[in-house]
Each structure stands twice: as structure tokens, then as C-alpha cells.
Symmetry: C2
Subunit: 256 residues, 2 copies
DNA sequence: GTGGTGTTTTGATGTGGATCAAATTCTTTA
DNA sequence: TAAAGAATTTGATCCACATCAAAACACCAC
């Protein structure tokens, strides 16, 4: 390892007191202990992170982070699901993604939040003061590395979604979504087709779906209807979809 | 600073020989010496990076990085401009962004490129073997930090673009684009309106514009025409646009 | 169960932007 | 400087998806 003074001094001075080790109380029973940020920390190191965290519960429907507001806090999701979105003044909304346990929120380096976050169900999260958290990052490069990985993964997803929004038809969008949702639920591996007959649990409303896919609820409904008529899927209940022909869906999604 | 053995061992072993210091020959006259990755390195440290770089020139129109190909190389742009895009088998194309000097290419952690890159003019770049570069990153955390900043900034742009592609009308898209291009050219600060009368140099074809905005060339042309008729812009030549009413454009772009 | 409310589906119609086509303007080459 | 070719604009028509409207269904509370 090269001596430290060989390194350019981008890293800012550490401001937290390293002797104040809190134990990671509350982390043991946390659903996100072994995912995301926390997953890369040892039991001991987690104490630091835990010591600057406030554990918060947010009710379904609450917008706990609003685009344009001062970015005082960062968040790490422990339980529940969240929609991330941007809006136009006249109410048009684009959901840019969904986030679940282990997801770290507010990767933006601006001093304002650049998107909003709304709880889809009852959400438990750790809230961090931005400044304190920055200091923790200085101390644990593993966190920063993890953040980089996460950001790069987000970018890949975002690029896929730009292709979808800019160039795909309604049915192609819905087919693409179903397959990506299967991946998210780990019904299948990344880039691997789910088995025929796989059941998908969809806790989203048609409105969410529409705002994510850049469509209206009517078009989403009709597209699902078309895929059903074509024998690609079955829709036993509103929040459940069975993928009858994943290969067919994939061909539609990728316009093969 | 906490002792090193307090740190979790995410960082992989360093494989480059640190005594092999090449001087950063060729970097002095490089247009990107003080931007992007290179900007965060000292003259001395740059030698490392330089020693694992191959300097390449790519002709206009060359696709030097293709979606789906094995991600053998990473690239850092020194001169010229590049379009980044994803395509569907039937030829539909979505440009996900444009990149200029200082831009680091291939932030993806997959073993395959997830998008393509095509030179818009004569492009000079540094090509890095992926493995070697990873090793350099281990050694210089400043690079990783810079990469994180870049990735987060990209994400913000990507989210804005998703809103544009999913929810904005044709004229709103074009207006949004003109303002974002003004920022890119540093005609104005980030989030600041350009002065009325600011001249924009647009080295893009209408096709590029269309594929970036999720429209057809005809609609781009008509939208520019509409903005012209409304007195928002003037178009003295195909590749030049004068922003007559930046505030008006901004109101259109953000649907105010 | 029943009634009420909100969500989803289905149907009828409208429209923004796509497509097709031709005219115009830029660019290149000789 | 003219002619050929490419890119852009403009015009006419079409269609995928939006919008408007009503019916069907799901989810409550009581």
C-alpha cells in the first residue's frame, strides 16, 4: 500500500468522534441488516452507522422526502416499499423507480432533493443527518464502494427505462415491466427468464404502473388484457399475474 | 484516522506493481487533463493512470463500444463528442446521453457493455484494460470518489430525462433540451437561466435530437418551428439557436 | 350479508405525434 | 460554380394512445 501522503487530499476531515461507539442495538432484528449499506459492515462497524441513525416509521401514502426540499437527511429503507417520482406543476407524474428494504435513498450530491419518495405501505427506515453520514463515509470506504456499486446499478436500470419510455409501445412496456418485476422479486436471476407459470405478486396500483411506464391506467389495463388474450399471462387477481409464456413476453419486451 | 485493520476488507488485493511509475507523458497536452478522473490526480499520480492507458483516436461515426460486447475496456474521453445509446433489434434507438472531454465511459459493473458509444466527430480517448484500471482504483480512493460523484450526477440527469420521456409533450421536450444544452455548454450555470440572446452551438443532427427526445425528426423540426413562431428562439442556421426568451422556454419546459 | 366508495375494466371518441411524401435547403464534390 | 446527394422542413394523412364516460369489480365499515 502506498503511503497516505501519496494520496491526493480529496477526503475531507473526519468530524465524528471515533471513541463514541454505540452498539448496533436495533439492527439485529432489522430486515435490512444484511443488505445494502449495512450488509457490507461488520457487527462492530455497524455501531457507528447505528449511532448516527434515527429509526423512523412512515405510514402508507406519506411523502417523507419531497423534490426541491432541502436535503437534510439521507434514508436507508428497512421495511416496506417506496415509490420514487418527479412531478410537473400540473400534476403529471413520472415514477422513476421503486425501492425496498436495503435501498439507500438520496444518492444526489445536490443540496436539494431532486425527486420525491412516498411510502407505498408502512415503511420503517433509518434517517441520517446528511453531514454526520458523510463523516461516516469518510471512515468506511466500503460504504462508499457499496454506494458506487448501487449508483452504477441504478444507472443501468435508468438507461433501460429511458429506452422503454422513449421508444417502446404500450404492450412492449408492460411486457418489459413484468419481466423486470420478476427479477426484482427474485423469481428469476438477473437476465434469466422466469419459469413458465411463475407467479408475480404486484403490490402496485394501475396508477403506479401507468406513472412508471409513461402511460394511462386505461392503456395499462388494455395492454394487460392484450397479453392475457395472447396467452402470455394470466391475471387471477388484480395484484397477481402468472407468467405463462416468459419467452414470448421477452420477445415482445425486446421487440425480437 | 482509525487503524487500517478496523476497516472491513472489501477492497481487493492490489495487482499492479507500484514501483513501475511511468511519467504522464502525453497528458500535458491532453484536453481533459484537468477534468473528470484525471482532474483529481496529481501530476505524479497521473503517471500510474497514464501507464495503463492506451491513447486511441476514433473516427466520426465509429461505434467503438457496442452494447452486449464483452466489457474489456473502459474509456476516458479526451477530445471530441460521443453519443451513448441503446437500440432495439428493429432499429429503434434511444440516445441516453452525450459525452464530451473528461467523461468516463462504462460505469457499469456488468461484464458486458450495457449501451453503445459512437463518435460524433473525431474522438481522442484513453482506453484502459478493465482489470488494470480496477487495480488503479484500489490504489487511489480519490478516483473512486470522483466516480461516485459522476455516477450520482448521471443519475440526476437520467431521472430528469425519464420525466421528459414519460410525461412531457414534444414542445416541452425540445424546450427542456435547449436549456439543458445551454447548461452543458456552460452558457449558464446549473439551474440558472441563460441570458436572453445567448447563442447555442448545436453539433447534433435532427436525428440525434429525435433519438434523444423520443420523437421523430419531423416532430423535432415542427417543435422548433413552433418555438420560433412564438418568439422563444431564433434559428439562424441549422446548428445554431438563439435563446430569445429563456424564461419563456423554462416555463414551457417545466410546464409552469 | 348490504351499501358505499374507490379502483379497474371496457367502450366510444378525440388528438398529438407518427408516417408517408414532396419541396427546400444545406453540404459535398468535381 | 454546378450538380448530386444528404439533411431538413413542410404538408397530408393515419394511428396508437389519450381522453371521456359508463359499467363491473374489489374492498371496506357496519
Amino acid at each position: 500500500m502506498a503511503p497516505m501522503n501519496d494520496l491526493p487530499l480529496l477526503r475531507r476531515p473526519v468530524t465524528i468522534n471515533l471513541t463514541q461507539r454505540a452498539n448496533a442495538s436495533g439492527c439485529d432484528e432489522c430486515g435490512a441488516r444484511h443488505t445494502g449499506m449495512c450488509g457490507v459492515l461488520t457487527e462492530e462497524d455497524l455501531g457507528f452507522l447505528s449511532s448516527v441513525a434515527q429509526r423512523i416509521t412512515v405510514a402508507a401514502g406519506d411523502v417523507f422526502m419531497e423534490e426541491g426540499d432541502k436535503a437534510t437527511y439521507f434514508f436507508n429503507l428497512n421495511q416496506g416499499n417506496v415509490r420514487l417520482f418527479k412531478s410537473l406543476p400540473d400534476g403529471r407524474r413520472q415514477i422513476t423507480g421503486f425501492a425496498g428494504p436495503g435501498y439507500f435513498l438520496a444518492l444526489a450530491q445536490s443540496d436539494k432533493y431532486v425527486f420525491s419518495a412516498e411510502a407505498m405501505d408502512s415503511v420503517k427506515l433509518c434517517r441520517f443527518n446528511r453531514i454526520s453520514l458523510m463523516a461516516v463515509f469518510e471512515e468506511f470506504p466500503a460504504l462508499e464502494r457499496k454506494l458506487l456499486d448501487a449508483a452504477m446499478h441504478e444507472l443501468v436500470i435508468a438507461q433501460q427505462h429511458m429506452l422503454l419510455l422513449g421508444r417502446k409501445t404500450a404492450v412492449e412496456r408492460v411486457a418489459s415491466f413484468l419481466l423486470s418485476w420478476a427479477e426484482r422479486l427474485e423469481v428469476c436471476g438477473v437476465g434469466v427468464l422466469p419459469k413458465p407459470g411463475s407467479v408475480l405478486h404486484l403490490p402496485l396500483s394501475r396508477m403506479d404502473l401507468a406513472d412508471y411506464l409513461g402511460l394511462t391506467i386505461e392503456t395499462v389495463s388494455r395492454s394487460l388484457g392484450q397479453l392475457k388474450r395472447e396467452g402470455m399471462i394470466d391475471v387471477p387477481s388484480i395484484h397477481e399475474i402468472i407468467l405463462l409464456k416468459p419467452k414470448g413476453l421477452s420477445d415482445i419486451a425486446d421487440a425480437v
